[in-house]
Symmetry: C2
Subunit: 258 residues, 2 copies
Amino acid sequence: MANRTLDSYTVGEVARLAGITVRTLHHYDEIGLLGPSARSDSGYRLYDDTDLERLQQVLVYRELGLALDDIRAAMGDPGFDRVAALRKQRTQLAGQARRLKRVIAAVEAAIRAEETGMRLTKEEMFEVFGDFDPTQFDGEVKERWGDSDGYRESARRTAAYTQEDWMAIKAEGEAINRRFLDAMASGVDPTSDQAADIAEAARLQIDQRFYPCSPEMHANLGEMYVADPRFAKTYEGMAPGMAEYVRTAIATNAARTS
Amino acid sequence: MANRTLDSYTVGEVARLAGITVRTLHHYDEIGLLGPSARSDSGYRLYDDTDLERLQQVLVYRELGLALDDIRAAMGDPGFDRVAALRKQRTQLAGQARRLKRVIAAVEAAIRAEETGMRLTKEEMFEVFGDFDPTQFDGEVKERWGDSDGYRESARRTAAYTQEDWMAIKAEGEAINRRFLDAMASGVDPTSDQAADIAEAARLQIDQRFYPCSPEMHANLGEMYVADPRFAKTYEGMAPGMAEYVRTAIATNAARTS
DNA sequence: CTTGACCCTCACGTTACGTCATGGTCTACC
DNA sequence: GGTAGACCATGACGTAACGTGAGGGTCAAG
């Protein structure tokens, strides 16, 4: 092949190296995102090492979900700094890893809910606060979740609770939710210490009123707030986006205590 | 709204709960992936809790990259077991997390390559084995990478190497690569102990011949084999898929020694 | 020279929605 | 009861990022 040098690659070689298709490379050439440095006399695309470095960066941006047009614009910026971009990409990928971890936690929570129903016990506990009736609580919940550790510990602690205790618990819960709502309404970042303080108050209430609840466990509960539609409905009914807000605040709190 | 019950949700509510669009829900209804349990008298879609559970699972499958048609087929299977599916999804998500971790490692490796060039030193060291000339090695590599720790340690060790030493090193490298190729050709799983043993031999060669190389460091090098096109080219030139194979074997070795 | 792998351009098709148009429904408030 | 704004319905064209295939040229080993 005329013009083919030792350090140039044809489209098929690049595709194999990078794990993408020839069609993708054609497409990228076509839209001006990544074209070959040269063409052979017969019209073959010839990519060199610099092209490959650029391709790697394109693929990372793609991994981050950027539209190809946006990738081209970003890399076409005269002030584009490759290392700075790589650093930023790394940060964004780490964010993605954290999100994926949360998806995993949500699936795990769903599995536990199916197997033990422990989370639903808590959900139902909070839900019954709307029109609280201790006798209804004992009957229905024990019937469904009588075997779980959390239930037994809660039952042990709450056995001696009076009506006044329950009203206090309800008031505590409402106060915590109001704090969350106020924080949301006033634009407080859910990853701030302020929001995390509210989450810590929520965790302590569970820990002190019902059963041992570590920050990690609380974080799992937080995942359930967004993953389980019934939890989500409780919070979304108070304000759109609240479930996500509370979950993030809880995760922030768990992270700062670890 | 006629027929609307307390535990049913309209399309907008579901969209907000799940963080997706109304259009997506319309689309899913349209293609038979997820339709509402009921319709109001005026034709509004009404989703119930079971619908929401199904939606969650659809979204997880989507997160895993399955085509919607395939998701519908999987969940439409008469033997579909929700908990078993959740378990499998969790495993697959964990696999995705590991892949993402590798992408991150590749970006980090690219950053280091830009900053220190240390990896390219190793790459060029291996590359020159094809047509090895010690004098060329000293000149070019020192000129480019003379400041890195790895280079200095290598230089310190190799200063007294004879031509016979170098030929031995080259033979060792070729033998290791041949072992990798044989393992690949005979279908040995790159995550097996056998493949990891070969990787360990490779690590030891670097450790003993050039510079201290821990399993973790070796794993980083392995990431470079697939992330850096020049490394990849070396291995892909021997056999398609070899870079990936070697990288996986190295990672397996690193994992079993940690 | 032949053959098979690989290259080119062209162009229609697919997937998963995004966007908008038009018109009906619901609910709080006056 | 009427109004207004939010939300619902269906229909339909458009988009992004390739996938797939057609028809024909190029390369290199045998």
